[in-house]
Symmetry: C2
Subunit: 187 residues, 2 copies
């Protein structure tokens, strides 16, 4: 199949824009999959800043990076992504978000609408022109609906002169398939 899921869409877009030497952010380290993906793309000359508020996520990510010998170009930060501007310099090429709870973790400790939107505002401000934010929005089951609605409403209000927002929705799938949102900062 050519049409895969939201995660594949976000990775395809990131692969098109992130180059060796770039500064990038994994706003939701989770189990470290995107952190490792980004570490491979930016290489030793680049830098990945990876955020999570959960000890488990930071430790899982650290372990994944060490196992794959990709630790030197990653900075793991145990803090909310809404504070990313305290750690990350301007001129970021891409910021990846996975919104929802930590896969395999506690569904009650997920990302929350208000801090997610503050994090998105910070991410937009840190991005360089033509930089990209990707968001994979997980919802359904017992959580995530409020956050999905809040994020969808927020992205509609982003000034079109500042950034372009493209929403990818799988319209006929069952069980709330994740949505991929891509935001490209204008020149």
């Amino acid at each position: 199949m050519l049409l895969k899921n939201a995660l594949v869409i976000s990775h395809r877009i990131i692969k098109k824009v992130v180059m060796p030497g770039d500064i990038v952010v994994d706003a939701t380290a989770g189990n470290g999959n995107d952190t490792l993906f980004l570490a491979n793309l930016v290489g030793d000359a680049g830098k990945v800043y990876a955020f999570d508020i959960q000890d488990t996520a930071i430790e899982n990510t650290r372990k994944k990076l060490i196992d794959n010998d990709k630790y030197n170009n990653v900075k793991l930060i145990k803090d909310s992504h809404e504070n990313m501007d305290r750690y990350v310099p301007d001129g970021v090429k891409a910021v990846m978000f996975n919104l929802g709870y930590l896969p395999g973790g506690d569904h009650s400790i997920g990302t929350k609408p208000s801090s997610t939107i503050r994090a998105l505002e910070k991410a937009l401000s840190l991005l360089k022109p033509n930089g990209i934010i990707t968001m994979v929005v997980y919802y359904g089951g017992d959580s995530g609906f409020d956050e999905k609605e809040a994020v969808m409403e927020y992205v509609k209000t982003i000034d079109y002169k500042k950034a372009t927002v493209l929403v990818h929705e799988f319209a006929n799938q069952i069980n709330c398939p994740p949505i991929a949102i891509c935001i490209e900062k204008c020149k």
Copy 2:
């Protein structure tokens, strides 16, 4: 910019799936741009069936093909796309739709919700496994809203075991930017 418009999205997807020798359909020939695009992709070993109900569209398309020396592998059909099964054999690789009125033409003679949906059903049935339908949905100004709503509702009802529907919407643009809908038939 990486994120372009709905037309560019549909062309990117078609380029990934349509190969020399394929049978394809331009369901809305209009001014012939997509017919020519498809004729170039399928080459002399392939076949493009191009439909339009307006004489002007058929003539504009014919002229464009002749000017570009791409006429031998195209069949122009002045009939509604809802009758495409009368002309097109099974095993189609891709069907392209531009929904709305003929650019530069009479806004009162646009595609209509009921016939568009019958055409979509025919297109789905003619497609080979992993074949693709693309729709660029123009709406706004004085027309197109009913059709957009009808198409968006219809695609949600397509059985997910038969096809995957991916909707691309530009969420923060002004003036009703066109929507790109992509439908991939399952194996």
